[in-house]
Amino acid sequence: MSKLTPVLSAHWDQPDSFTIEAYTRNGGYTASKKALAMDPDAVIQMVKDSGLRGRGGAGFPTGMKWGFIPQGDDKDHYLVVNADESEPGTCKDTPLLMANPHVLIEGCIIACHAIRAKHAFIYIRGEVTHVVRRVNAAIADAYKAGHLGNGIELTLHIGAGAYICGEETALLDSLEGFRGQPRLRPPFPAIAGLYARPTVVNNVESISAVPAIINNGAEWYQSMGTEKSKGATLYSLSGHVNNPGQFEAPLGITLREILELAGGIRNGHKLKFWTPGGSSTPLFTDEHLDTPLDYEGVAAAGSMLGTKALQIFDETTCVVRAVLRWTEFYKHESCGKCTPCREGTWWLVQILRDLENGTGTEADLEKLLDLCDNIMGRSFCALGDGATSPITSSIKYFRDEYIAHVTNGACPFDPVKSTLFAGAVN
C-alpha cells in the first residue's frame, strides 16, 4: 500500500482541475452544502474532533482557534486566509491554489459558517501572477454558481512582497492598508483582529483540509497521522534530490521514506543537511532521517515541523554560504519594527560574510552565537527568532566547517559543484 494519501492533491492531474466544472465533477461543494445545514458549533466540534492543526507552521489546533471567536457578540466576524506563502523552502499552497483554488473557497464557506463570519479574505502574496488569476477567476465562478454571495462574501487581497506579512498580525495590518508590521498581543485576533473585530487567521492548507473532513468525517481524518498529529499533509521536497515535488502523506512519515519515493539524493552525492519546515526551523542532518515528521517528533529532535518544507542539501553545499544567504533574507525581510531583529540581522550578515569569505576569526563565531542569544526571544515576533535558527543549528552541527573557512582564509567549496547544471555524478 502506498505511503501517500492524496486528498488535497487527489485530482490535480486533471488538466482542468482548477475549474469549477472539474471541482464540481470531483464532488466539490457538497461539503459546504452539508456544513451549512449543520449547527455552526457542530462544525467547530467536528473540526476539533478531527485533530486538524494549523498547516502554516505553528500547528495550533484549528477547531480550537475557531472556538475562541466570541459568539452572540453582535460584532462582525472575519475569516482571513493566509496565502502569503514566503518561508524559504515552502511551496505547497502556491501549487495547491494553482491546481485547485475551489477547495479553499469551499473551506472558507464552511469556516465562515462555523465562526459566524459573513466576510472572508484571502491574503495571497503578490509575486505569483498566475495563481492570482486562478484564485480570482475561481472566486468569480463561485459567485456565479451561488456558492458565494448568499450571505458569505469573499475578497481576494493581493500582497506586494513582504515575508513578514505571513505573521498573522502583520498580515492584518497589511490588509487594513498599513505597513505590514506585527501588532502587540493581546488583544489576539480572535478578540480584535481585522478592523478590531473577532477574526480567525488560517493557512491555505488548513482551510482546504476542511471540506474533506466534513465529507468524510472526523474519524476518517483522525485515522491518519500520529497520536497528536492527525491527518495528512503536503510535504514539499526540494533541493539536491533526484525527483523533487509535493508528497501528500500522513503526518509522521520520515524523510527517509520520502527520499525513497523521490529516488533519493541526486546520484553520487549524499545528504549533508536539511530543513524540516523552512529556513526558520533549525537544520537537521543525516542523523535525523528517521525522525517522524510530525509536530512532536520534529520538536523532540530540536527543530520544528513548520511548513514541512524539506530543503535538501548534499555534501557539495557550503553550509556557511547557505546560512549567510538565509540571514541576508531575514535582513531583507525584517520589518524594522524592533531593535533586535532590525539591527541584529544587519550585523549577523556582516559577520557571516566575513566568515564565508575566509576573513573571519574564531572569535567571530562566539560573537555570532552571543548576538543570536540577544536576538532569540528578545524580538517582537518570531522573525527574529527564525533568523537565528540556521546560524545556531549550523554551528552546532558544522562548527568545524566554519573553522575551516577561518583556517583556509577562504571558502573551501566550489559553488559550481552544487548547481543543478553541474549534474549528478554517474
Partner: protein, 205 residues
C-alpha cells in the same frame, strides 16, 4: 496614461473599509505607469482621504512597489539559499553580465529590468526565475538568457506555469490589482513536480 478614478473607486468598494484598498490601488498605479508615481500617491491619498505620507509609508514597505520605472519585462532571479546553490547565483551573475545591468538595473531600451528576489514558493522547480511574476521553472543560464533575449526582441518565451504568452509588467500589475485579464484558464494546472506524489501514489508507491 492617466488613472481611471472610477475604476479606482470600484477597487475601494471591495473592502468594508476604504483604507484596505491601498495595496491594490498601488498595484493599479503600477499597471498604468509602470511604477508608483507621485501622481499615484497623491491620487490614492485623495481617494482614501488619508495623508500622502501614509500612502508613501505603505508604498515603500513592500518590495513589489517600485519608486522608479522598471522594464517592460521585470526579471527576478531567485537567489535565496536553495535556488542560489542550485544555480540561481550563476544565472543572476550571467544575466547581469549579459544585460550589462546591476541589481535593480534596467536595460537602456527599457525592455528588461533585473532584480534578485527572495524565495518565490517554487522550490521544487529550482532554480526559479520570475518574469513579471510569472514562473519560469528549472532554469539554466542558457534558458534565462533566452528569456531576456526574447523579452528584448518582443517575443519572450511563455512561462512554464502560466498563460500562453508572457504579459507585460503593466499588464501583470493589473492582475495584481485584482483585475481580470481573462487568462486564468490558460496554461497547465500543475507542473511535474507538483504532481509527483500523486503520480507515485497512483503507481502504488
Amino acid at each position: 496614461m492617466t488613472l481611471d478614478r472610477d475604476l479606482m473607486q470600484t477597487i475601494i468598494k471591495r473592502y468594508p473599509r476604504s483604507r484596505s484598498a491601498i495595496m491594490p490601488l498601488l498595484h493599479y498605479v503600477q499597471s498604468v505607469s509602470g511604477y508608483v508615481t507621485n501622481d499615484g500617491i497623491e491620487t490614492i491619498s485623495e481617494l482614501l482621504e488619508i495623508e500622502t505620507a501614509e500612502v508613501s509609508a505603505v508604498a515603500t514597505f513592500y518590495t513589489q512597489y517600485k519608486r522608479k520605472p522598471v522594464g517592460e519585462y521585470h526579471v527576478g532571479v531567485c537567489t535565496n539559499t536553495l535556488c542560489a546553490v542550485m544555480g540561481g547565483d550563476a544565472i543572476f551573475a550571467a544575466l547581469k553580465d549579459h544585460l550589462g545591468v546591476e541589481n535593480d538595473g534596467v536595460t537602456a531600451d527599457g525592455k528588461v529590468s533585473l532584480e534578485h528576489i527572495e524565495c518565490n514558493a517554487a522550490c521544487d522547480y529550482a532554480p526559479v526565475v520570475m518574469a513579471n511574476w510569472e514562473f519560469y521553472d528549472n532554469q539554466t543560464v542558457e534558458s534565462a538568457k533566452a528569456l531576456v533575449d526574447g523579452a528584448r526582441a518582443g517575443n519572450p518565451p511563455a512561462p512554464t506555469r502560466g498563460p500562453n504568452r508572457l504579459v507585460t509588467y503593466k499588464e501583470a500589475s493589473a492582475v495584481l490589482a485584482g483585475l481580470d485579464d481573462g487568462l486564468a484558464r490558460e496554461g497547465v494546472q500543475a507542473g511535474e513536480a507538483t504532481l509527483l506524489g500523486l503520480k507515485l501514489s497512483k503507481e502504488g508507491k
